[in-house]
Amino acid sequence: MTDEATELTMNKTRKVPDATRRSSDSKSGRYLGRPAWGETQPEVADSSAMKVVVCVKQIPDPADPGALDPETKTLKRDSKLILDESDSYGVEMALQLVDAAGDGEVHLVSMAPNNEVSGLRTALAMGAASATIVSDDALQGSDALGTAKVLAAAIARQEPDLILAATESSDGYTGTVPEMVAALMDLPSVTFAKSIAIDGGAAKIQRQTEAGYDEVECPLPAVVSVTAGVVEPRYPSFKGIMAAKSKPVDELTIGDLGIDADQVGWAGAGQEIVAIEDAPAREAGEIIEDDGDAHERIVAFLDELKVL
């Protein structure tokens, strides 16, 4: 852990919510996100300022078919990178939480080769105030843990009240980075959030489970990963797009973050792709066009399988 991270943890853990303030504005937090099944949610605004950091990943456009570079065994990233759609939910949630708090700002943290910012600009155009991009040749080949070390160090410099991330990226989908960031910063974490309400110094979160959802309360600062669909991401306005061009983006290397090269990239990964193989393909099936009787073919198919 970096010095900054330690300092952040120390400062923030001491910031216990003030009891008087809590009682005045904590009838119930303002829930944002999809309402629970069959429930309506209270809407009472919280009035304290908030700094939210959102981890965003810039990925190759999923509309372009992906490919692995046979030399490096990493995803080819020669096309322009875009904002991972999964991260647009975290950005939107952060903007709404800051809005509900009445004061505060959203800062983005991203790690990408060559100070790539095209995806970051999209999130800045949505309304984030500023961004940090960490680029370093030593980062190539980083696994989830290496990535988390870089993000945690970059986030710690911002001293946020809340750190949001997607539950998983659309290209690597390891789904472990947010929890690792929390562990590295020694913060509490709640993953798979489908709604978040801030109430004084704590977050009230509905967390998806295998069977339904749990209600979880978590003091801030904390790391929360949000599911896709938690909120409806806004489209950047023309004004937002223009404003994004001049918003501050801090460019950092791992040296700036006090991270050694052997902790990240290929050197730090601790795992290696040893083979790439075609998966066994399914045999082609029967495809018919519905002429009004297709349901009969389905019934016959089910009959053949003896499942009726």
């Binding site: 692995l68 843990l145 083979a275 029967e286 009004g292 349901h295």
Partner: protein
């Protein structure tokens, strides 16, 4: 035999051990001489079932009092191994579940060891474990080896192995003490809600009928419910309509939802995005109905109907009702 010892993360649904845990025990006992389970809750409740499936010892934390499993279980494991109280494993197998991913992430940091994710197959290469991970929606498999020289963590996807007992004796139980977690352990579960449909469970049903964006509107999902019910199956959904709020997340089939391998999977108005395919392409028989003849779902369908779900489904429901 390859490895000396593997630890499997144990999860439970009420009184029963979760299927994912039993599935991983099958893989673990083929790869290692000794298989042990670590879990939250009271290991005594599950020692018989876990033993039957090959676990020799169950390490458990006891009741967590509402704390989330990730930080509590990982901290307990790291403390037990770090202090030398417990002889740690050569590898950890953890299920790709909400709590499993939390435990894996926390544990990776505490032990500074890699996590190999989305594993659907495991094999030995010398004394190192190699995990197979499907990418690009399952058309390509990559094999990833732990080269850290430390005990790697493998996040295993559900339904990658078939859970079979081996007649093992009841497992021994040991306590796993949770250390003081400080601020990191401050989150608390205050209430739990179930949102599952009536009838067979989605990931256990022999027939799954799933609906997607092609249904057009939330009300049309009622056709999926009706059809699933008449077939004695479970209703499922693509991520698109879960994100749109038509049905709860517990209905979701796919990368971020449930993995299903029913005898028959009926995909209605689902295009077949990578996200969805990885959750259902192991089904024994796949029927797809979609207006778009170019939809990727047809590449995995045994029977593909190019047609409008609003026309085909009502007739299918009626035909089944008349039998």
């Amino acid at each position: 035999m390859g490895l000396d010892k593997i630890w499997v993360f144990g999860e439970a649904n009420g009184d029963a051990v979760a299927s994912i845990t039993l599935e991983m025990l099958v893989a673990a006992r083929e790869l290692a001489d000794t298989v042990e389970v670590f879990m939250a809750g009271d290991g005594d409740d599950y020692a018989e079932e876990l033993g039957e499936h090959g676990a020799e010892t169950v390490y458990s934390t006891g009741d967590l009092g509402g704390a989330l499993q990730g930080v509590a279980v990982a901290s307990a494991v790291a403390a037990a191994i770090g202090s030398g109280d417990v002889d740690g494993p050569d590898a950890f197998l953890i299920g790709t579940t909400q709590d499993g991913r939390d435990v894996a992430g926390r544990l990776a940091v505490k032990l500074d060891t890699p996590v190999i994710t989305n594993v659907v197959g495991l094999e030995l290469d010398g004394d190192q474990l190699v995990g197979s991970e499907p990418i690009f929606g399952g058309v390509t498999d990559v094999k990833v080896k732990n080269t850290s020289g430390k005990s790697g963590i493998f996040l295993v996807r559900p339904k990658s192995f078939e859970a079979v007992g081996m007649g093992g004796a009841e497992a021994d139980t040991e306590d796993l003490d949770v250390p003081d977690l400080g601020a990191a352990g401050a989150a608390r579960i205050t209430a739990t809600h179930a949102e599952e449909a009536d009838g067979p469970k989605l990931d256990e049903a022999a027939i799954v009928v799933s609906g997607g964006r092609g249904l057009g509107q939330a009300e049309a999902y009622e056709m999926i419910n009706t059809l699933a019910k008449s077939l004695g199956g479970a209703p499922g959904a693509s991520r698109a309509i879960v994100d749109s709020g038509w049905v709860p997340y517990s209905y979701q089939v796919g990368q971020t939802g449930k993995v299903v391998k029913p005898t028959v999977y009926l995909a209605c108005g689902i295009s077949g995005a990578t996200q969805h395919l990885v959750g259902m392409k192991g089904s024994k028989n796949i029927i797809a109905i979609n207006k778009d003849s170019e939809a990727p779902i047809f590449a995995v369908a045994d029977l593909g109907i190019i047609g409008d779900v609003h026309k085909v489904l009502p007739k299918l429901i009626e035909a089944l009702a008349n039998r």
